[in-house]
């Protein structure tokens, strides 16, 4: 699988038009239904190759796009979400410098 290819599991004859927000492999138990004691084996079953991680991020991006950005009567929410997300991201990467601006020595 090179760059720009469909996932290995995607078969146009069966799955129809490609949905970039969808996982076409064999579905595992959803994370919300995993018990705490099964968490280790669930994590062990994950595919942790760079391609798979990139695919997961891509699917999340497209799921967000389909839900908040692509609908016909879209509001300002996705822009606020991007704004808050980028603010959080830059706050986190600059946190080392921000720490020096603390006003109190002891808490």
């Amino acid at each position: 699988m090179g760059f720009g290819d469909y996932p290995k599991e995607y078969n146009p004859a069966v799955h129809g038009p490609y949905d970039p927000a969808r996982y076409y492999g064999k579905p595992d138990t959803p994370f919300g239904q995993v018990k705490i004691n099964e968490l280790g084996s669930w994590l062990a079953r994950r595919n942790k190759s760079p391609q798979a991680i990139a695919g997961a991020f891509s699917r999340a991006w497209w799921r967000w796009q389909h839900k908040y950005v692509q609908p016909k009567k879209v509001g300002i929410a996705p822009f606020f979400q991007l704004l808050v997300g980028s603010m959080t991201f830059f706050y986190v990467i600059n946190y080392g410098k921000m720490k020096h601006h603390r006003n109190y020595k002891y808490h």
Binding site: K8, E9, Y10, N11, A13, V14, H15, G16, P17, D19, A21, R22, G25, K26, H66, K67, Y68, V69, Q70, P71, K72, K73, V74, G75, I76, A77, P78, F80, Q81, L83, V84, M87, M98, K99, H101, R102, N103, Y104, H107
Partner: protein, 244 residues
């Protein structure tokens, strides 16, 4: 027949080669509409609260903490972060706060009218792009309707032709009867003429005969005979008078 089998087996080989790209469990190659329906574009976006937080995150709290739970959690978390100065309130924080107030006020004040205007524009663009398709569908439907009407009219034409044929038949019947009447009256006229002619001939012959007989009779009477008759008449009169 054999060639068809050969073609089919070649097609089957090709399709298996295509499917080989997919997973090992999915070799059927049949479109699965139930589990993989065609994706459609949503009309309404996902719901959010406070402008950006997904509704689902609040729903996640509801069963455990009630309606105020997520807000309590949010306020408690921020209070904790502020109090321990994990979130550092440096100078940019106050800039952000004022910006947040301005953005929130602007969104509240101008948001609804802007959203209405944008929705109207989107609808206009969509209807513009759809119009040719809608119009061609409408034109085809109109054509179908016109065709149906034309067929209906053609059926009416059949009725009309039927009526015209009947009309022609009636005219033929009328002409036939008229000629029949004509022939009858002509024959009657000729017969009447013959009758009249024979009547006239008989009448003329009779008159001729009467005239001839009368003239011959009067010619045959001599003066003696006339005198005798007169005498005889006078005698008779006298006899009659004597008897009185």
């Amino acid at each position: 027949m054999l060639s068809r089998v050969a073609l089919r087996s070649a097609a089957a080989r090709q399709s298996t080669a295509l499917v080989a790209r997919g997973s090992a469990t999915d070799v059927s190659g049949v479109r699965d509409e139930k589990n993989f329906p065609r994706p459609v574009r949503a009309v309404e976006p996902g719901k959010v609260r406070l402008g950006f937080i997904p509704e689902e995150w609040f729903q996640f709290f509801h069963s455990k903490t009630g309606v105020t739970g997520p807000y309590t959690f949010g306020v408690g978390l921020t209070t904790y972060l502020f109090s321990k100065e994990i979130y550092v309130m440096e100078h940019e924080y106050y800039t952000g706060l004022s910006l947040l107030i301005m953005v929130a006020v602007a969104a509240k004040k101008f948001g609804p009218s802007l959203a209405a205007w944008l929705d109207k524009e989107v609808d206009a663009i969509e209807s513009d792009w759809n119009s040719s398709r809608v119009e061609s569908i409408k034109a085809l439907e109109d054509a179908v309707e016109a065709e149906k009407k034309a067929q209906w009219r053609a059926q009416g034409q059949e009725l009309l032709i039927e009526a015209k044929k009947e009309n022609v038949l009636l005219q033929l019947e009328a002409a036939y009867r008229e000629r029949l009447m004509n022939a009858y009256s002509e024959v009657k006229r000729r017969l009447d003429y013959q009758l009249e002619k024979s009547n006239v001939e008989r009448r003329l012959a009779q008159r001729q005969m009467v005239d001839w007989i009368v003239s011959n009779v009067t010619k045959a009477i001599t003066p003696d005979q006339e005198k005798q008759t007169l005498d005889r008449c006078i005698a008779d009169l006298a006899a009659l008078a004597a008897r009185k």
